[in-house]
Symmetry: C2
Subunit: 463 residues, 2 copies
C-alpha cells in the first residue's frame, strides 16, 4: 500500500481476502447503489460488497469500524427518501442475496427470514400454508428494508405496520458484534425493546440480518369494492366515518382524480373514471365480510359515492391491487423522463379532510402535477410531485411544494412521515416534530451504539 | 447543614422550599413506599415526595441528578417484581396525585392523561362516550405504571398490550429535561421509537408524566362464556386450536382447578366447579359474536368441555371478569398471612400445553400451593406461589419453584415475563434470554440516558 491509501482501501483489500469477487468496484454496479428511487443526488460508493451470511456482514462491518469507513445497508434500492445514498461514500453492503426463508411455523404463525426476502417472495412461499404476511409497501422492496424504514402499506389499517408484525431481529452492531432482540412470544415485558428501537432506525444503529415475523391466517372470505365520487370531500369524509365507526376494513385506499387517470392508463382500468376513488377490501367470515361491505356501502352512498362496484373474484381483485401498488410507477409514467418527490404526511383521522384538501390547493397553486394516493384509514397519504429531469428548476419547485404540504400536515398534528422514513428528505422536519431535547436523546442513543458514526451517516440527523 | 449531611438531605431541603408538606419523612408513608405487592425485602426510601405537575417532577429529578440521589417513580404500588422497592433508598416520587384526564377525542379515538390515572378511572370517564381502554392488568394499577412495565391483561389477545395502545409520552429525563415522544397519528416512520423504548423501561430511563392513549369503540355486541373441563390437557388444547384458527376472541382466560377453588370462595362463583376452566369473551356485531361463539363451542365440545355457559347479560359478565381480575387476591386469601411469588412465563402458543402441564408437575413435586391462571391466548400464564409469611423457609422454596417454572418456559422458547416486567425478580434470567451482547446494548442505552444511574437503580440489570 502507498502513502495515498485511503481507509476504505484497507477495507476493500481485507474483504477481498474472504469475499473475492463479491467485493466489486465495477462502475455500473456502484451506479446501481448510488441512490434509491428518490431524487437525491447520486453518490457512488467506493465499493459494493455482496454479503451472503451474518458472519460476512459482521466481518465487513467490523472492518469498516476499524478503519472508520461508512457502511450503508442496501436491499432492493426502493427507498424514496435517500436512505441508501452513500453520501460520504464508503461501502454499500448489498444484502439482497441473503434471501432465505429459514423456517415457517404454521402452529405459531411466524417465520424466520433473511433480510433480502421480498414480500412477494414470502407470500408466494406461504400461499400453500394458509398464511400470509400483510405488510405491503408499493414496491418490490426487501423485508429488511421495510424493517429499517418502519414501512407499512395498504393492510396496516387492519393488520398494523411492520412494527407490529416483527417479533425479533438478529442485528449486526457497529463494531461487528451480533445481537438477538425480542422474543418468539406474542408479548414480552423483558427489558428494553431493542426490536422496536431497530425498526425505523434506517441502518444507523445496526444492520438487520434475520427477522422473525408474525404471520396471519388467510381469511375465510375476502372481497373488494370500488367506489367513485364526484368530488374529493365526500370521498375523504367517507373514510373518516368508516374509521370512526370502527368498521374493521382490511384496506381503504384513496386515489385522487389525477392518480386515477394515471392508473387507468398504466394498469388498464378502463371500467373506471378519473374521479376521486376509494379501493376497499374486507376480510373475515362470509357473513362478516358481507356485513362490513353493507355498512360501508351505506356510508359512501350517503356521502355521494357513485355506485359501489364489487370485486369478489380473485382475478379482478388482483388487478385492482396491482394497480394500486403500481400507483407510484403509474405517476412517473405520465410523461417522459419523470421522477417523483414524494410526500408521506400522516395526520390524525379527524384532520384528514383538511390535510388532503389543503394539499390539493397547494398543488394547484404550484402549477406542478402531483397525483395523490393514500392509506387513508391510517390518515396517511402521498403526493408524488412529478419532476421533469430535463427541467433545471423543477426539482427546487417540487421540494418547495413538498415542504409546504409537510408543514401543513405538521400544523394539523401530523407527522412528516407515515411510512417512508426520514432518510435525507425529511430530516429537516424532525426537530420541529419532536423538539430539540427528544432529538438530543436520539443522538445520544446513536452515539452510544455507533460512536464512530459509520452506520449510514447523514441520515435521520442533519449533521 | 453539618458535615454529616447526606446528599439526599440536600434534595429534601431544596424540595421542601417549593413543595412544603408534600416532601415527607413520615414513617408510615415511607413504609407504604417500601415495596409493591411482591415479596422483595422492604426498603424505606429516605423521603416520599408527592408531585402534582410535570414541572415538579422535573425539578425533583434535577435535584436528585445534581446530588446523585436515587429516584423511584411510584404509582399505585401494585408491582409484583420489586419495581418500586427503593433498594438504594433515595426518593420515592409518588405520582398518584397526577391523575387528570386532560382530554378525550371521540373523533380520533385517543386521550391524553396523567400517569396516576387508573384504568378503572379512565373507563368510568369514557363510558358515556362509547369508548373504552382495553388494557386491564388484574390490579388497581396506574396507567403510568402499566407503561413503565409494559403491562397487558385479558384483552391483549384482541387489542394488544399497552405497547400497541400508547401513541406518545411526555417523559422527564434523568437530568430533569422534558421530552415528548411519538405522534398523534396511527403510525409514523419519523425517527427512533422513543415511545417503545420508554415502555417497559421500568423507570430506569425516564419518568413518564403524560400519556397519549389509543382508545377503542365499545363493541356493538359483547357476550361471555364459561366452559369447564375434566382435565387440563383438553382445556389448553382448546386454546391452541382457537388461536390457530384465528377466531378473534376478545378474551380467553384459563384458570386451573386450584385457582377456580380460590375464586369460587373469594368471588362467590357458586355455580362453577373447581375444575380447569376457560373464561371467554366475544366482541363484534351481533352476528359476528354469535359466529365466534359457535366456532369456539364446537372446539371445546370436541376437546371434552363440560357445557358452554353463556353470559350475555352485563351483570353476570361483570361478576365473572371481576372474579378473574381478583384472581391474585383470591389466591392469597386462601390462607392467613399469605403473600405470592408470581411467575409470568409466556411461550409460543404451540408450546403452551407443555409449559402449563410441566408447571403443574413442578408445583406438585414442590409440595407448595400455586394456583395457575393465564392470558392463554397470548401463551402467557401465571402461577401464584403461596408463601406463608410466618414460615422462614417458605420464601426460598417458592423462589426455587419460580426459577424451575421460568427455566422450563425459557427452554420452550418463551420469556421470563409476559407482562409483569423484570424488576428485581426476573433480572437473573435476562442474560440467558437475550445473551450478553444484547444486554450490553441495553446497558449502553441506560448509561447514555442516565449516566449517574439515579433512575430506579437495581432494576432490570443485576448490578
Amino acid at each position: 500500500m502507498t502513502a495515498q491509501t485511503r481507509p476504505v482501501d484497507h477495507v476493500i483489500a481485507a474483504a477481498r481476502e474472504f469475499l473475492g469477487e463479491r467485493v466489486t468496484l465495477n462502475t455500473a454496479i456502484r451506479e446501481q447503489h448510488a441512490r434509491g428511487e428518490d431524487t437525491t443526488i447520486p453518490v457512488l460508493p467506493d465499493a459494493v460488497i455482496f454479503a451472503e451470511t451474518t458472519e460476512e456482514v459482521s466481518q465487513v462491518v467490523a472492518l469498516c469500524h476499524r478503519h472508520g469507513v461508512p457502511v450503508i445497508a442496501f436491499g432492493a434500492g426502493t427507498s424514496l427518501e435517500g436512505h441508501v445514498t452513500p453520501v460520504r461514500a464508503g461501502i454499500s453492503l448489498d444484502l439482497s442475496r441473503m434471501n432465505a426463508i429459514i423456517d415457517v411455523s404454521q402452529d405459531d404463525m411466524d417465520c424466520l427470514i433473511e433480510p433480502g426476502v421480498t414480500r412477494h417472495q414470502l407470500n408466494d412461499h406461504l400461499r400453500d400454508q394458509g398464511l400470509f404476511f400483510p405488510v405491503d409497501p408499493g414496491s418490490h422492496c426487501t423485508i429488511g428494508g421495510m424493517c429499517a424504514t418502519r414501512a407499512s402499506g395498504t393492510n396496516a389499517v387492519r393488520y398494523g405496520t411492520i412494527r407490529e408484525n416483527v417479533m425479533g431481529l438478529e442485528v449486526v452492531l457497529a463494531d461487528g458484534r451480533v445481537i438477538n432482540t425480542g422474543s418468539r412470544t406474542r408479548k414480552a415485558a423483558n427489558g428494553y425493546d431493542l426490536t422496536r428501537l431497530m425498526i425505523g432506525s434506517e441502518g444507523t444503529l445496526g444492520i438487520i440480518t434475520k427477522i422473525r415475523l408474525r404471520l396471519h391466517g388467510i381469511p375465510e372470505a375476502t372481497s373488494a369494492a370500488v367506489v367513485q365520487f364526484p368530488e374529493m370531500r365526500g370521498c375523504v369524509e367517507s373514510v373518516i366515518q368508516v374509521m370512526q365507526l370502527g368498521i374493521p376494513v382490511a384496506r381503504i385506499e384513496l386515489l385522487d382524480e389525477v392518480q386515477m387517470a394515471a392508473c387507468i392508463a398504466y394498469s388498464k382500468l378502463e371500467a373506471l373514471d378519473p374521479l376521486p376513488t376509494l379501493f376497499l377490501e374486507f376480510h373475515g367470515t362470509e357473513a362478516g365480510v358481507r356485513e362490513q361491505a353493507e355498512a360501508v356501502k351505506e356510508i359512501v352512498t350517503e356521502m355521494g359515492g357513485l355506485g359501489f362496484a364489487w370485486a369478489a373474484d380473485q382475478e379482478t381483485r388482483n388487478k385492482l391491487w396491482t394497480a394500486r401498488h403500481n400507483a407510484y410507477y403509474a405517476a412517473i409514467a405520465t410523461g417522459p423522463n419523470l421522477r417523483g418527490v414524494t410526500t408521506d404526511v400522516c395526520v390524525p383521522i379527524s384532520r384528514l379532510a383538511d390535510a388532503i384538501l389543503g394539499a390539493k390547493e397547494d398543488i394547484l397553486a404550484s402549477g406542478l402535477s402531483a397525483p395523490l394516493v393514500g392509506h387513508v384509514g391510517d390518515g396517511n397519504f402521498h403526493t408524488v410531485i412529478l419532476v421533469d429531469q430535463g427541467d433545471p428548476t423543477a426539482l427546487d419547485r417540487a421540494w418547495a411544494l413538498d415542504r409546504q404540504i409537510v408543514a401543513r400536515g405538521l400544523s394539523l398534528g401530523g407527522t412528516c412521515s407515515g411510512e417512508h422514513g426520514v432518510g435525507m428528505g425529511k430530516a429537516e422536519f424532525l426537530e420541529q416534530e419532536h423538539g430539540m431535547e427528544a432529538l438530543a436523546v436520539m443522538r445520544g442513543i446513536k452515539n452510544a451504539l455507533d460512536p464512530k458514526g459509520i452506520l449510514n451517516p447523514g441520515k435521520i440527523f442533519r449533521n
